[in-house]
């Protein structure tokens, strides 16, 4: 059946991961609480700790504000990972 076949194709495409190019870094959006995780990201800077530049922080008033719509939109737009911290 058509639907079964397409389901199998999807399963196969999930099974076979794409090759990771050399030097590739995941594009990550971090959703951070203003009071803790955003402060921690600031502290990382104050302490001159280093992490990949491909991590970008979106400030939330609290991680309670994190909406599933944001996560879906981020993935839909091609980010490789989402980091929720708070």
């Amino acid at each position: 059946m058509v639907t079964d076949k397409s389901a199998t194709q999807v399963a196969e495409s999930v099974e076979a991961p794409r090759e990771t190019p050399v030097g590739w870094q995941p594009n990550i959006i971090a959703f951070a609480c203003h009071y803790c995780a955003f402060a921690a990201a600031d502290l990382a800077g104050v302490m001159r700790l280093s992490y990949p530049t491909s991590v970008k922080v979106v400030r939330l008033p609290c991680t309670g504000k994190l909406d599933h719509v944001y996560l879906l939109r981020a993935f839909e737009r091609g980010v490789d990972g989402v980091f929720a911290a708070g």
Partner: protein, 1012 residues
């Protein structure tokens, strides 16, 4: 006889603050915020004091200028603060409540009303003068700003070097000044002001190291002072933050710090410990390593005095992460190799042999001393000085001078670091607030802001300001490129870069741009919004833009500082950060905040000396106090202390304080109860006590104390001869020291080692106090103190010296080679292996005294959870900012004092409690508080009343109304947005964090990831 006329005369609701360093500014801002008028007098052309000369601060490595700059701006803009720069107080008459102060302002020769701070005059000035601000490392002009971020930003002409003022030629600055601000006819002015109280914060001067000739300062170019090294490290210093050697401009790799230069030495120097040098040397070594990973640092020290909160961990960081070598050695001398300019440091190694080591740069850790004019200063204000020249105070009244109504804060009261200066500033302010409580609001005027411009319906015109932050950002990120790209974003009307956005000239620039470019929204790309957003929000509000038409793009903490090694990638990330904030800002709308009333009372948790001191101060400022103590009596740990090291009778003092608390009509004491839960918000808390009663209050002060460690080490409990310092104090008071007995004390018992790797701060002082008491009563007694670092910081060095003079023996041990204790029938045998001494040593003691430290309360964690506060890794409550907000919690309306914060002695506890009371008072003086505009807005039209929000809101803001539907209490709302997250109908939108605004950020930062 009291003159009835005098008694009737009303006190003046104005305070004179003399000195405008960080302590003076703190006092002035607290007073001004409590409704008193402040005259702040400062003898330099800019406010800022010593802290403005520092590059970074320990133990967080925060940029000093970034912290102090907003305070300077706030001080200069506050409607209740009158600044008098280049001025001195020449006379003070009158008495507590009614003083007349004569202020003499030196001529500045530049009219502050006309000067724009553009700086066009400076390049024209032909005269170069040694730049004292940069510690003589470079030159400035005769017309100058003290430093780039100076406040006020009006230049001054140095009359001793100006060609026109000395030889009547030149006037080039006058010709180039388009504002016509130069005024050579300026003669200064003298004014009399009426004030009710005076706070003295004149600050310090540093020791002149050329006096100690063995270090070669002034003779060898590559021997610099620590303050000079601060300027060498500073991005706004003479070499732009790239450390260079004075002799040849090379980059020094081998750095040596010599500690205690000018301190702890009564011969040609000062006898006291300057308190801060151990820590600033560690900081400088860590920062130097950050600047250049090839740097190798050595610190030559006598005693490592890392006695403050988290200080020992910072030293560990210096040793382990920055590779700093600590050498316990006194320096015999420094000799230059004339061919290279390198320096040979002569010291004695631990094996007793002479060592010579070569370094590229030697940094002298110079100490503090009272200013040269301290004696004259004390005379003008009619106060007593101690034998060293510091303002005389007592251990029990640390911010009060000998003259009623005159208070003191900061290093004029004795050497201390920034947070202690800040808290004494707040503490002195609390004293003045109590004195002038009934005069609040009588001398001040209200801030008048222009009407807000209605921008609804306008197309977005975003202005983007990208800050260099000296080299903090621009050293890594190509800020010009960031601005250039930002300018092409939709809705952006203007973008440019600026050296320091937060400096007054930077803020003026922002105000000018809003007007000139007709901007209706602003993005500043600089540092973290957590500290700097309020400043910029005020700035745009002053020209009529709503505070919420602003966003701060964090390209320093979250970009330049963590991607220093990847300049191009960092620039690309900065572009993304700025663009996503532009995307949000385009969609920003004005947010209007409402205000709520304030309950003019405070809840104080803890009936120890901290809680009681604060309660009395808050009550005397005119507010109600509910004092809650879980024990059935007041007094706390202080009940076990008999006297201070100065001999003050602690129990008599404590009894008097308890009596005063019990008798005070505005203080309500609850004994034997704890706190069950706390509801509400700043200004309007409702707390439930364990006895079921409810208390309404506007502020909350946590002074819940600590505990004394009961040692198990060194045979504790195995013999009556093994006691703690507290036990010894009781023994000495009850029985005396006996005759010819031997006392051995072991320091750091249960402190400075995992899992309690912090200094308990009071144990060295306790050991000195008891040692002196024994030897003074019985000179034949033998007292041996076995220690790691004798932390007799500040003026307490005097007691260390006195103990040594009395014959107390001090022997060193290290944590990997501790003394061994054996309990014998009639004595306690203490053995030292001799690794440090060179030969083993056995002492038979009649008493072994263990210096056991302080611990946080066992239930501190539980309390923290209840109040939603945080603790540090040692279990002590964490303040909002270790330097500048030492008694505030991050949660609004919560304050902190005493052992709950960190170990400290009685004098420090009293200062801190007064400070917390001052902060509480400044809050409670408000009749209304403006509620944050960042709250959730409920759309009842599309709400289905599914109750998801009612179930999930931790603050109880959504409720079922009389119609049986969901409504929302905005006063209880904290803007966390949980309701918005769980609402299936999307009936909630959080102001300033709306879904469309956040999705725009996500879309912006993912554009490059889209398939082409």
């Amino acid at each position: 006889m009291v003159n009835p006329q005098q008694q009737q005369r009303e006190r003046t609701g104005t305070v004179l603050v003399v000195g405008s360093g960080i302590g003076g500014m703190q006092a002035a801002l607290d007073l001004a915020n409590s409704g008193l008028l402040v005259h702040m007098v400062n003898d330099e052309p800019s406010i800022g004091g010593t802290m403005s000369r520092l590059d970074k601060t320990f133990p967080t490595g925060d940029c000093a200028m970034c912290m102090i700059s907003p305070r300077m701006v706030e001080s200069s803009r506050h409607a209740n603060i009158r600044l008098h720069t280049m001025a001195r107080v020449t006379a003070l008459s009158g008495e507590e409540g009614n003083f007349t102060a004569t202020i003499k302002e030196q001529p500045r020769y530049v009219d502050p009303d006309r000067c724009t701070g553009c700086g066009a005059c400076e390049p024209e000035c032909p005269t170069k003068v040694v730049n004292a601000f940069n510690q003589g490392l470079d030159k400035r002009k005769a017309i100058y700003a003290l430093f780039p971020q100076a406040v006020p930003n009006t230049r001054a002409i140095d009359p001793a070097h100006c060609l026109y003022l000395t030889r009547s030629v030149c006037r080039k600055c006058e010709k180039v000044c388009e504002a016509g601000a130069i005024n050579f006819a300026d003669t200064g002015r003298q004014i009399d002001v009426q004030v009710g109280s005076v706070i003295l914060t004149p600050g310090l001067q540093t020791y002149r190291p050329e006096i100690s000739q063995e270090f070669g300062y002034g003779k060898y170019k590559n021997v610099v002072t620590a303050l000079q090294f601060e300027r060498l490290l500073s991005a706004s210093g003479p070499c732009g933050g790239t450390v260079t050697r004075p002799s040849d401009g090379g980059h020094p790799k081998r750095l040596a710090w010599v500690q205690c230069v000018g301190s702890r030495n009564a011969h040609n120097a000062n006898p006291w410990c300057s308190s801060v040098c151990c820590m600033y040397a560690a900081k400088q070594a860590i920062i130097a390593k950050e600047h250049d990973p090839a740097v190798e640092s050595t610190v030559f020290y006598m005693e490592l005095r890392a006695f403050g909160k988290d200080f020992d961990k910072y030293i560990d960081k210096a040793k382990n992460d920055a590779g700093v070598v600590y050498r316990r050695a006194m320096i015999a001398g420094v000799v230059e190799d004339p061919a290279t300019g390198n320096l040979q440091v002569h010291s004695v190694g631990e094996d007793g042999r002479l060592l010579r080591q070569e370094f590229d740069l030697v940094i002298l850790s110079i100490g503090f001393e009272p200013r040269a004019d301290a004696a004259e200063f004390a005379r003008i204000f009619g106060i007593d000085a101690d034998s060293y020249g510091f303002a005389a105070t007592s251990k029990l009244r640390p911010v009060e001078t000998s003259r009623p109504g005159i208070y003191v804060a900061g290093t004029y009261q004795g050497p201390k670091d920034i947070p202690e200066t800040v808290l004494q500033g707040s503490g002195a302010a609390a004293k003045a607030m109590a004195l002038l409580a009934d005069r609040r609001g009588t001398e001040v005027s209200k801030v008048v802001l222009p009407d807000e411009r209605d921008i609804s319906g306008e197309e977005p015109r975003v202005g983007v300001i990208v800050c260099h932050c000296g080299t903090n950002i621009a050293g890594t990120v190509d800020v010009a490129k960031v601005a250039e790209i930002a300018a092409r974003e939709p809705g952006v009307a203007h973008a440019e870069t600026i050296l320091y956005a937060c400096a007054p000239d930077g803020q003026q620039k922002i105000r000018d741009l809003i007007r000139d470019k007709n901007l209706n929204r602003v993005v500043v790309a600089s540092c973290t919004p957590r500290t700097h957003a309020p400043l910029f929000q005020d700035t745009i509000r002053e020209v009529g833009l709503n505070r919420f038409l602003f966003e701060l793009a964090d390209i320093r903490e979250q970009c330049s500082w963590c991607h220093m090694q990847e300049k191009e990638l960092a620039t690309a990330k900065a572009v993304e950060i700025v663009n996503m904030n532009i995307a949000k800002t385009r969609r920003l709308d004005a947010v209007h905040s409402s205000s709520v009333g304030v309950d003019h009372s405070a809840l104080v948790i803890g009936g120890g000396i901290a809680g009681m001191t604060a309660a009395l101060s808050i009550a005397s400022q005119g507010y109600g106090v509910q004092l809650v103590e879980r024990a059935d009596r007041l007094g706390g740990l202080l009940g076990q202390v008999r006297r201070t090291v100065d001999g003050d009778d602690v129990q008599a003092y404590l009894t008097a304080v308890i009596a005063e608390v019990m008798a005070h009509p505005a203080i309500n004491v609850h004994l034997g109860v704890g706190v069950e839960k706390i509801d509400g918000f700043v200004g309007n808390f409702i707390t439930t006590l364990s006895d079921g009663s409810h208390i309404n209050h506007g502020a909350m002060l946590v002074a819940s104390g600590g505990e004394e460690y009961q040692p198990v080490e060194y045979g504790a409990g195995q013999s009556e001869r093994i006691i703690t310092q507290r036990g010894l104090e009781n023994l000495l008071a009850e029985k005396g020291p006996g005759s010819g007995r031997t006392y051995v004390m072991i320091q750091c018992v249960g402190s400075r080692e995992e899992p309690h790797n912090y200094c308990s701060r009071i144990c060295c002082q306790d050991a000195l106090k008891n040692s002196i008491a024994i030897k003074e009563k019985d000179p034949t007694a033998r007292v041996v103190v076995i220690y790691r670092d004798l932390r007799a910081y500040g003026l307490k060095e005097e007691y260390y010296r006195r103990a040594r003079d009395l014959g107390v023996l001090f022997l060193l041990y290290t944590p990997d080679d501790k003394p061994e204790v054996e309990v014998l029938p009639d004595k306690v045998r203490v053995a030292l292996s001799g690794k440090v001494l060179g030969h083993p040593l056995v002492i038979d003691a009649d008493s072994l005294v263990l210096s056991a430290g302080l611990r946080p309360r066992a239930d501190a964690d539980e309390l923290a959870k209840k109040f939603k506060l945080t603790c540090n890794s040692d279990g002590f409550f964490l303040e909002a900012h270790v330097k500048l907000r030492p008694v505030d919690f991050p949660s609004e309306g919560f304050f902190l004092a005493g052992l709950a914060h960190a170990p400290k002695n009685l004098e420090e506890t009293i200062s801190q409690s007064l400070a917390a009371a001052g902060r509480v008072g400044a809050l409670l003086s408000n009749d209304t508080l403006t509620v944050s505009g960042v709250i959730s807005k409920h759309n009842r039209q599309i709400c289905m009343s599914c109750l998801a929000c009612v179930k999930n809101c931790p603050f109880g803001a959504p409720f079922i109304d009389t119609d049986g539907r969901v409504s929302h209490n905005e006063v209880k709302c904290t803007g966390c947005g949980i309701c918005a997250g769980v609402c299936p109908a999307k009936a909630y939108q959080v102001n300033y964090f709306r879904d469309d605004q956040l999705l725009a950020m996500i879309d912006s930062v993912t554009t490059q990831a889209e398939p082409a």
